[in-house]
């Protein structure tokens, strides 16, 4: 680590002053026995394993199914803090949908000089096949999982706008289930807003985006790449909780101008497909012809108004890390308001001056691939060895436009339960927002990811991170 940075702890602030949202929790915690809690934590793990809440690890033959560690100390957010986050996310989601519509139509933002054309032209996430498509309600991203980090009492930053296929919502729900199961007394003592309505809200929101061809009650289905996908549990969980079918590409065909699923009673048309298959694999007729996961012709039916695809193909252009740096402008351009949520200052390495600055300060910065995700391919300068920094410098200089850099944020911490009692660990937060023509519906809660290793800033589950239940307190 660089010179001692002071981290804000969400339970104890900058010192040992207990913060208000944690007062009731702390009362309860002080009367509990740590060993007993530790054994409850083991119980939770058994429960997760039994329920099959696992994620598949690519390239790992043995023990290919792993649990994401769960820590039972909740992340608690006050109603007031949440209010501001909610307004900020609502604004951002509306702006992103307006941006996507514009980018796939007249590109006014480019014509207005607020976004350089190259940002789109040289962007792999721009999907030409989406040009001219206006989905129902002009909603392109229906489910958004905005990654937020906190650096101080009133200092939230958006780290990423996950607008293509945000995952993790099943953990938000299962973590709460587990907490309710293990500590019912806590919930009778503390007024925590519920998250359990998410599946119903999701189905309602998706149904509100039914295509023109829909006749009567919209038929919703979830498209999964299959049981070997890392997030398969979440796909089946969501389909199950929504009460809709979980389909794979080979269950679907184009029948009577619709995308239809093969049932025991014949083919039945689908109105809204919540797809968890990446763009490139979605339609072998229009995209990658080798894809075995997709539905040939679905883009054609989509363009003809026969189905709604959620999230729309091509939404990746809006959560690309280089576009991210323009988000304050994007929000302002489409909403006419200043962005409520802050962006992390970002250097685009494609720009010569920025690249110079980044190269001079690699030891202090976080450098990420523009299209990367899951914590892969990034450099956390302060945590990297000299050798790692130099190796990364070579990669960066070979393809500067593939990278952006950000200052190392003093990510807030929330205590986790260790053998020795509470110990602070860095966290981030991913709330889930649903967009439909009726508006943006933000679920009061989210996925709190926690870096379980002391001092680590990488919270990704693929890199050994864990999760916590996230409590939003009632007013």
């Amino acid at each position: 680590m660089p010179d001692k940075i002071e981290f804000f702890d969400e339970m104890f602030g900058y010192g040992a002053d207990l913060r208000t949202p944690y007062v009731d929790y702390n009362d309860w915690f002080s009367s509990e026995d740590v060993a007993n809690l530790k054994s409850k934590s083991k119980q939770a793990e058994t429960l997760f394993r039994l329920t099959g809440i696992t994620f598949n690890v690519y390239g790992a033959e043995e023990a290919a199914e792993r649990l994401i560690p769960f820590d039972l100390v909740p992340r608690i957010i006050t109603a007031k803090e949440w209010g501001k986050l909610a307004r900020g996310i609502d604004q951002r989601v509306r702006a992103i949908n307006a941006f996507l519509h514009d980018i796939y139509h007249r590109q006014e933002i480019v014509k207005a000089g607020r976004l350089p054309a190259e940002m789109i032209a040289n962007n792999e996430a721009f999907l030409p096949q989406m040009i001219g498509v206006s989905p129902p309600g002009n909603i392109y991203t229906h489910i958004v999982g905005t990654d937020l980090v906190r650096a101080g009492p009133d200092e939230f930053y958006v780290l990423e706008d996950n607008a293509r296929t945000p995952s993790g919502v099943s953990y938000m729900l299962e973590n709460r289930e587990t907490m309710l199961h293990m500590f019912p007394e806590l919930f009778s003592k503390i007024n925590v807003r519920g998250v359990g309505h998410y599946p119903r809200a999701l189905r309602r929101s998706l149904s509100a985006c039914a295509p023109p061809a829909c006749n009567g009650k919209p038929c919703v289905a979830v498209l999964t790449p299959g049981i070997h996908n890392s997030a398969y549990y979440e796909h089946s969980f969501l389909a199950d909780q929504m009460g809709v079918e979980l389909v794979e590409g080979h269950d679907l065909r184009i029948i009577d101008g619709r995308v239809a699923m093969r049932t025991t009673e014949g083919y039945k048309p689908i109105d809204v497909l919540y797809r968890r298959v990446d763009d490139d694999f979605l339609d072998p007729l229009n995209f990658n012809p080798d894809s075995m996961l997709g539905v040939p012709g679905i883009m054609d039916v989509y363009r003809a108004g026969g189905i709604t695809i959620a999230n729309a193909p091509g939404t990746g252009i809006s959560d690309d890390k280089a576009i991210y740096s323009y988000m304050p402008d994007i929000v302002e351009f489409y909403t006419g308001e200043k962005a409520i949520l802050k962006n992390v200052p970002t250097w685009r390495c494609s720009e010569k001056d920025a690249l110079g600055h980044v190269c001079d300060n690699l030891e202090e910065l976080v450098v990420k691939e523009v299209h990367g995700s899951g914590g892969y391919g990034m450099l956390v300068g302060p945590a990297a060895s000299k050798k790692e920094v130099e190796e990364f410098r070579a990669k960066l200089l070979a393809r500067p436009d593939n990278y952006i850099a950000q200052p190392t944020l003093a990510l807030s911490t929330v205590p986790i339960l260790t053998e020795a009692g509470l110990a602070p660990r860095h966290v981030d937060l991913r709330p889930f927002a649903l967009a439909s023509p009726k508006g943006v519906d933000l679920i009061p809660g989210g996925l709190t990811r926690v870096a379980l290793t002391e001092g680590s800033l990488v919270v990704n589950s693929s890199q050994g991170g864990g999760t916590k239940d996230t409590w939003v307190l009632e007013d």
Binding site: Y104, H105, R106, Q107, V110, A117, I120, A121, P128, Q129, M130, I131, G132, R253, I254, I255, D256, G257, P284, L285, P289, P296, G297, D300, V301, R303, A304, G305, G306
Partner: protein
């Protein structure tokens, strides 16, 4: 000039096809200088599933094969009035940003051969003249010949083969124009021939975007800009995105293709 067009494509298979889809880019649209009086597409052995506009604003029919079919016939026919517009098509109307037409596709990469061809091209600041010169230069370097197989070659491979058909000419033109930062696109359509009504393939040419004029057509194979004998049907970034018929098929049988085209003045 009023043109009557009939385009019949017959696919035959040596084994029943379990499932197949085809995108037909076979419907000309009315536009300044081109009025479609009537147009129909009849499909035997298949079912029309959807009619939509693709990103280039082409009218596309999606067709699925009937279960276990061994033969599918697509008959596309109609009448079109065409005026001679000296090859000028006009300003970009669809939402496709012009820079997309400057991006090479796998078929239109300007490799060494295209660069070499450009090296021997006489340069001028007049864009229109430059493109006409390019068109003539391509035809000279790659004489027209139908002896080719009907495999779609990239611009580089076409130049390597020493001769080409209209789609090769168009691909080389697109690769060259794009490497000069000129937006250029592929056009698939029909051309009335003076000496014969019957044809065995549809035609293809290219269009380039010139500030002030908009899109201008170049029929490289015939060394002219399209006139009243040309019917524009579909445009795209290369052969693949504008092809009259493109599809996917499940099954291992082999495919036989027969094309009959008639273009005649009414």
């Amino acid at each position: 000039m009023r043109l009557k067009i009939s385009h019949t494509t017959t696919y035959s298979y040596d084994a029943p096809v379990a499932y197949a889809l085809q995108q037909l880019r076979l419907r000309p649209k009315s536009r300044p200088g081109q009025t479609v009086l009537r147009w129909d597409i009849d499909v035997e052995g298949g079912t029309k599933q959807a009619l939509f506009e693709d990103e280039h604003a082409n009218s596309v029919d999606l067709v699925s094969f009937l279960p276990q079919t061994t033969q599918v016939t697509i008959h596309s026919h109609g009448e079109v009035d065409v005026e001679d517009q000296k090859g000028i098509v006009g300003p970009q109307k669809s939402c496709v940003p012009l820079w997309l037409y400057q991006r090479p596709t796998p078929q239109t990469v300007a490799g060494e051969k295209v660069k070499k061809l450009l090296g021997t091209l006489e340069k001028t600041d007049d864009r229109l003249a430059q493109l006409h010169a390019l068109s003539a230069h391509i035809l000279a370097s790659l004489p027209y010949s139908t002896e080719q197989t009907n495999v779609t070659l990239s611009a580089e491979d076409a130049l390597g083969s020493g001769h080409g058909v209209c789609q090769d000419h168009a691909h080389v033109f697109l690769a060259a124009a794009r490497s000069m930062d000129i937006p250029a696109r592929y056009v698939s359509g029909y051309l009335m021939l003076q000496d014969s009504v019957d044809q065995t393939a549809s035609h293809a040419w290219a269009e380039a975007h010139i500030d002030g004029l908009g899109w201008v057509g170049f029929d490289i194979s015939n060394g002219i800009s399209p006139d009243a004998r040309y019917v524009r049907v579909a445009t795209g970034l290369d052969y693949y995105s504008a092809a009259p018929i493109r599809g996917m098929r499940q099954g291992s049988g082999t495919e036989d293709l027969e094309v009959q085209i008639q273009v005649q003045q009414q």
